[in-house]
Structures are given as structure tokens and as C-alpha cells.
Amino acid sequence: MALLQISEPGGKPAKPAHRLAVGIDLGTTNSLVSASCGGKIEILPDDDGSYLLPSVVRYRADGEIIVGNEAKQSAAKDPGNTIASVKRWLGKSQTEIAASDHAARYQFDPDREQQAPALVTAAGSKDPVQVSADILRSLVERAEACLKGKLEGAVITVPAYFNDAQRQQTKDAAQLAGVKVLRLLNEPTAAAVAYGLDSKEQGTVVVFDLGGGTFDVSLLSLRQGVFEVLATGGDTALGGDDFDQALADYLRARIDKQASEEASELVVLHQYANQLKHDLGENDSVDIDFNGYRGSLSRAEFADICEPLVKRTINTCRRVLRDAGKTTEDIDNIVLVGGATRMPVIREAVADYFGKAPLTDIDPDKAVAVGAGIQADVLIGNKSSDDFLLLDVNPLSLGIETMGELVEKIIPRNTTIPVAKAQEFTTFKDGQTAMSLHVVQGERELVSDCRSLARFELRGIPPMVAGAAKIRVTFQVDADGLLSVIAEELSTGSKSEIQIKPSYGLDADTIEQMLQASHEHASEDRDIRALREAQIEAQQIIDAIYAAIDADGELLEESEKASIEAAIAELRGAMQESKPIRIQELSEELNRLSGDFAARRMDLHIRSLQGESIDSVEPIGK
């Protein structure tokens, strides 16, 4: 027999070779890269197992470019050649960059124009595009090492508020790094995609992104699987660091003043505050033991300390909603992004303001990269966009009635829609010029046990012997679940069609009952199908024999004719008694008895054809 391969569910052929594409979250502070590994999106780690790549680049005099943790750690000792937060400078003029608070330590290249500034480093002039390209290159190298192959493209995320110049420079950076940009994706959209919110028909989503040093709120509207950014707001100087600072200030007021004035001591205190903040994420209360000060801190106390900061984030949400003309009741989902949203105090405040719990299942540091990875996987062709936009299946099989009131299923249940499937049918009787099509829905074998959806007729079939006509029946279900059935006779092109909404009047309970019934009656249905098929086959044999006797009855001897007629009578009896195996046996017997007669007819026709040109021969039955 033919050898089978395992297909994907729903009858889709197994995936072709996997193409490598990544999602890149090119962040102000940290960057991440993700890719689909065995159908799941994973964040790719570096050799040390760390996911976050600090978006910091150090240019050394020997030309070596260091990206990530090592560059971040050397920032203090080589500030002029170490560039951080370069994302803030994309698409900006020299004046704008010079005005930002951490620009003082850099020198601008005097040969560059105002609009295309570059910084002087030990390795020459570097503009924001080049620095971004170096970060991207590092991520690409990581991905290619992880995935063991050449990347074919990437989806790179950008803030929703990025203007054209900033987006163009992001693309330029990718090109410089040798990465094909499949698409620039808005960060809040990526986060919503990570949660699969794009698979819904429509909705309104708030993405609340509180990172280390920046805060963004975006309001997205989803229609037909496409996100539109309705409003954005934020604070470029508000992040998790500010919460650390607030806690550090609180601690400083309680411990020995003298000891805490020194700069190095302040750094340690800041780190200690950061640790306490993390511990409070898992515990209701933590013990404090710092420089001889002992005490404890509860979540409620911490909430009081950060209240002014939390209030600022909620005020921003309020402003964004107002800008978009929405109220909290219009919001279907809230997505939390950014490490600082792990703080329970933030989660509670957000849930409190919107009146519903935010989505938090995905690590908030990774959500944007995950969404970018999902989109990259679709765009490179590893998933069909149908899967992506609409994951809908038809709940019950759709088919047509065939001879013997049997159902021929054309689109099996659980097939992903939209879908189109065609099957060829033929005529049952000689000279049949019309065909009645009965469209049914359900899992049972008999038409009477299924839902009848519609009936229509195909006319204009040229008269031919039974089984010679070719009628293609196409079932097409569009994305809205609307079924079109088209019947076409292939030699003449005669066509007839109908449109039906199969879900009309169908609820979940009915579907459930119909499935249940098909399971309960499985053996019964098998038997009835076997019987009907045997009966139809027997009837066809009988009809063919009578047609042959009518045409060439003189070839038949009386005794032969008598035994054939006796066999037909016996077969008819068995057909009435509903015994499929007996019917099959008798059908074979009848075939055998009439075998000689058929052979003689064949000889006669061949003899009468001898000497004639092939062109003058009329096909039998025409």
C-alpha cells in the first residue's frame, strides 16, 4: 500500500523546512532576541545563559567593539568611548542630543552636519545608527549561534511614538548590521501579539510598559486582527530605578547619616534597596539589616513610599484614555510590560484603576520580544497568515448526499477556515441530465441523521452512460464561516451554486449532541453504510446487465439468460433483507455468471470496429 506521512492537525501537510527568523526587542536599556524553536517562541540566551543584552557599546582604540555586560561594566572607567541608551538619540539632531542629560561626556564629530551627528570615540566617529547596528549585530550573532544557521530576516520593535526619521534610522541600523527587516513592529502591539490578543475579532487593549528608566502607555484598538495605536503617553524619566531611589531615600533617613554620605556607600544602598524591592515581590514583608540598622518593611509600607510614583503612572493612563475618548469600561485587556511591572504595588494599582486584572502570564521583560518573534515566524512563512489572523475551525463536517441517502463529507469537522475543497462526482443513471445536490452538516453516515442545509440542482449535464459525466463539487468556507457550494459539469462548464451560513441556528449544545450521537452510533453507522454501498453496487450491476440484454440480447442463450435472471432475483431478495455480505457475494456471483456474455459483447464490438478509422468511431453510450 501507499506509505503515509504524518500531517499537521486539520489535514494540513507537515511544515516545510523551517526558515530562521528572529524577533528583536531593541531597547533603550536592554535588548533581547527571540525565535521560534519547535513551534514555541523562545528568548535566546548568550553563552552565560543571560537573556538581556545591555544596550551599551564600547569602542576601543584597537578597533574592538564590545557590546553588552562587559561594555556596561566599563562605562565608569571609559565613559567617553562607551555609549549607552543610544535609542534615545535615533533620528535626533546634534542640538537635541546635546541637550539630553547624559550627553555631556561625549564629543561630537565637528565634520558631521547638525542633522546627522556622530560621536568621537577611540575607534573613530560613530553615529546612533552605527551604534544601534553594533547592538543588532551582537544579537544576530547570538541568534545564529543558538539556531545554528543563517538568519533570513528579523522583526524589530520600536516605540509606538517613534516618528518616520526614527523608524528609518532603525531600518538603516539593521541594514548596516546585515539583517533583513521583515517589519518594524510597535512595541505595545508586539506585547499584545505575545498574549495572542490579535486572534480575537476586535477589542481595546492598554499596554502598560514600565521599564528601568522609561514609562509608556499605549491604547490599541484591534479590528480584524489588525492593531491600530489610538493614543500613547508616558514619561521618559520614570522607571523602576525611581522606585529603588525612593526606597533608598527612605532607608537613608533611618540609618546612620555619617556612613551613608559617601558615594560608594550610596551605590551599595541603592543596590540594597533594589534587592528589598525584588524580595517584596515574593514576600508580604521583608527584614531590613543594613549597616547596623535593623527593621522590617511590609508591602503596605512600600506602597506608601512609592505612592507618588504610582500615582504618576495612573495619571498617565487616565490621560491616554482621555486622549482616545475611552473610559476604563471600554478596555478589554491590560498587558503589563517591563521589569518594574513585577512589583505587586503596580499590579494592584493598575487592576484597581481599570477594574480588572492585568495580563501577567508572560515575563514582562520578554513580552515584546516574544511578540516580535511570533510575527517574524509568520512573516518568514513558517506559519500561514491564516493561522495567525484567524484561528477558527468548522465545528461539524459539511458534505453532500450521495446515492443510498449516504453522506459524502467534503470538509471534515475541525478543518481550519477559510478553506476550499473540491471532489468529483458522477451520474448514476444512463442519460442523466440533471443532478440534485443536497448539502448537509453532521458526523453521521445517513442524510436523515444529519442537518439539512440546502438543496439545489445542476442542470445541463450532456447525456452520457452512468458514471461518465464528471461533476466537480466545490465547498468553500470563507473567514466569516459562510459556505459556498458550486457544482460544475466539467465538459460543458454548466454551473450551479448556492450560499449558506452553516452556523445559522446552531448552538454549542446542538454541536455537542450531534458529536455524541455520532460516537454512540459509530458501529451502526458503519453497518448501514456498508449495506447501502452494497445495495447501490448491486443495483448498478443489475442495471448494467439489463441494458446489455436490451442492446445485445441475441448473444445470450436461453439457459444462460435464465440463470442470470435467477441470480438477479436472488440478489434482489438479499437487497431487501439488508445483508451486506450476502449482497456482495451474490453481486460477485452475478458478475461471474454474466462474464461470458460481457466478453462476447466486447468481442462483437471490437470485430465491428475493425477496419474503421478511429475518428469515425462514436464513443459507446453517446
Binding site: M1, L3, L4, I6, E8, N414, L515, Q516, H519, A530
Partner: protein, 107 residues
Amino acid sequence: MAISITETAARHVAEQLANRGHGLGIRVGVKTTGCSGMAYVLEFVDKLDIGDKVFEEQGVKIIVDPKSLVYIDGTQMDFVKQGVNEGFEFTNPNAKGECGCGESFSV
């Protein structure tokens, strides 16, 4: 009622499932086809449907819907190489005839 699988076939199923990265097992079923009756369906399974029967054999899960089971009860699934082709093959005690190419069968 049961479906069985040879060690070779089980190994190939397990490998393909591992390559795919997810999935509970494989679905063996039948669908009715145009002229010659039934054809086998072989698919990965991501979620079980109501009424599905699960057979665990040689460490892999074979999932069959109750409607198909009546046609393929007792079937053995094997993995064979034929020349340059390789794939899964079914030995079905219920099948009374197979069509020329072997893609469909009747009961």
C-alpha cells in the same frame, strides 16, 4: 478494541514528535473518499477531542476517534522503506479490498 504499532514505527513517531516540538501523539483515523471507500488519516495531535480513545503503545500515544475505530480496530501500524520512499503502513484486518495505489481501502 485497540490499535498497535511496531517498535520501528513508534521510534519514527517519537522522533517526528520531538522534531515538531509539541503534540500529544498521533491520530490514526479514516475518512471516506470518493470512489473506493476509506483512506487513512495520520496527523499530529495537539488536543484531544471528545470521545477520543488513546492507546499507549511502545511509548507513543495513538489517538483514534470512536467513529474511525470501528473501521480500523486491530490495525497494526508499521514504518517501512520501499526503495527511496519511506513512511507508515497499516495492516488492517477489517480491510476487504484495497485500491490499486493502496491509498484507500474498503471494509
